[in-house]
Symmetry: C2
Subunit: 269 residues, 2 copies
């Protein structure tokens, strides 16, 4: 049974909520961490950071950087600049991790797009090192290869982290994205010491939609506890983020959502 | 550029067509092979087989066997019996290959379901050997792990074939299911001599639906030619099946469909 001391509420679970409302609900419910999304920050990141601290919360991660695999050189330069900005924002928020979603093929071959991702990571790595922010490379489910991430397995993320060879590079394990993988257990073990985030939600059957069809923990088929135990066994003892992309939850999200999440977290994670 | 001599029309591309209509359209259009689905066969398989031969066609494969991972012992025995029937049907049709879709987790752990799949294959393998039919293990895209197949990578299929160690066991490579895999090229090479089928369709962006959202070759992002060249380089020179699960094509399928498939096949495969 999980206690709540490692629970983090990832804002995307209730995207219609403002940052203020999300923080207030976390605080009221005794949820110690929040996973922040950049589009919710507003212009004054220092003010947002102060507001979060005043409510007694810590930021588990900032979502998201990456999207390196732009098809033109000009767009790639923009992506590098945006990642530098994201690293700064993470530092201001006291977020130890910037979650990296690598980017899709975007008209390139998968091989070329994957090379572009490594190049982009190498370019912004010194900024992350200087800022004390870890780039958390999150493999996405293979069904997102065409539109979101050419990094689709934990093996790839582990390979990238080895190539980056820096304490400012790690991996984020999201149960929804990796549960199907026959290599997941040895790759979690291999990631030991480099896991900087663990995300949970569930895979409902049938999956109602590709992007917005994730389910609350317990409403699907993922053995979340087994994955958490494997991640914990590597020594990871940081926050566990509940990140559910589900438009039904968005529509119905009220102030009781955190209590439901806490119950399911204790029961299933 | 591909010639048409290896082209096979998989019936699922126009499921509303009867077997007779599909065979007639293949024959008229000069498509030499048909991939047959069992639910289209009717009661008299010998008659269906004779009808296909009269029209000058050959059967590239029969879809499908497998679904071994039933949750109860009784259901598993039913699955074994059904696979034995499918092997007989393939033999009557002169289909060299029975396509195997392994089956989903079905309430078991992925590990247990994968063990059940191996057990099921081992049980029906002697029947396949005796009938001269090859069990073609087809890894499905990981987004089908919960509902259709716990075998989700070509590496797994190759591992299974190694464990089966029989000339009646091989792998089927379907571009839609495997294109995202960072290990696909080395695993295709490893499969050399054991590839018994190659299926093509395309991955549109965005993917409109999980099951029925596949696209006509050229309407998506898969580098089909590169995959075909890799498969051919292993020595595979058998039929290439066009298998598109797409309800728009089902709705609009008319007798011109084969001509469109042929154009796209020549252009993109």
């Amino acid at each position: 049974m999980s206690s709540l001391e490692r629970l983090s509420f990832n804002q995307m679970t209730a995207d219609p909520w403002s940052l203020e409302r999300a923080v207030r609900n976390c605080s009221k419910s005794g949820t110690p961490y929040i996973g922040v999304w950049r589009h919710k920050l507003g212009d004054d990141v220092a003010q947002a950071s102060a507001m979060i601290r005043r409510q007694g919360l810590r930021v588990s991660s900032l979502c998201r950087g990456g999207w390196f695999s732009a098809p033109t050189a000009a767009e790639r330069r923009n992506r590098i600049a945006d990642n530098r900005l994201a690293i700064e924002q993470a530092a201001v928020l006291g977020a130890p991790v910037l979650v990296i979603v690598s980017g899709p093929a975007n008209g390139q071959t998968l091989h070329d797009a994957r090379t572009t991702v490594l190049d982009g990571l190498l370019e912004v790595l010194p900024d992350a090192e200087k800022a004390g922010v870890i780039l958390g490379i999150e493999p996405l489910h293979p069904m997102y290869a065409a539109e979101r991430s050419v990094v689709v397995t934990l093996k790839q993320a582990n390979d990238l982290v080895e190539q980056l060879a820096s304490s400012a590079a790690g991996v984020v394990v999201d149960a929804f994205h990796v549960w199907w993988d026959p290599e997941i257990m040895p790759q979690i073990e291999r990631a030991g010491g480099r896991i900087v985030g663990f995300h949970v939600s569930d895979w409902p059957v049938p999956l109602p939609a590709i992007l917005m069809g994730r389910a609350m923990m317990g409403d699907g088929v993922i053995d979340l506890r087994k994955l958490r135990q494997a991640v914990d066994a590597t020594g990871y003892d940081g926050p566990i983020e509940v990140e559910i992309f589900n438009d039904e939850i968005w529509k119905s999200a009220d102030d009781g959502l955190l209590e439901l999440i806490q119950r399911r977290f204790i029961e299933h994670v």
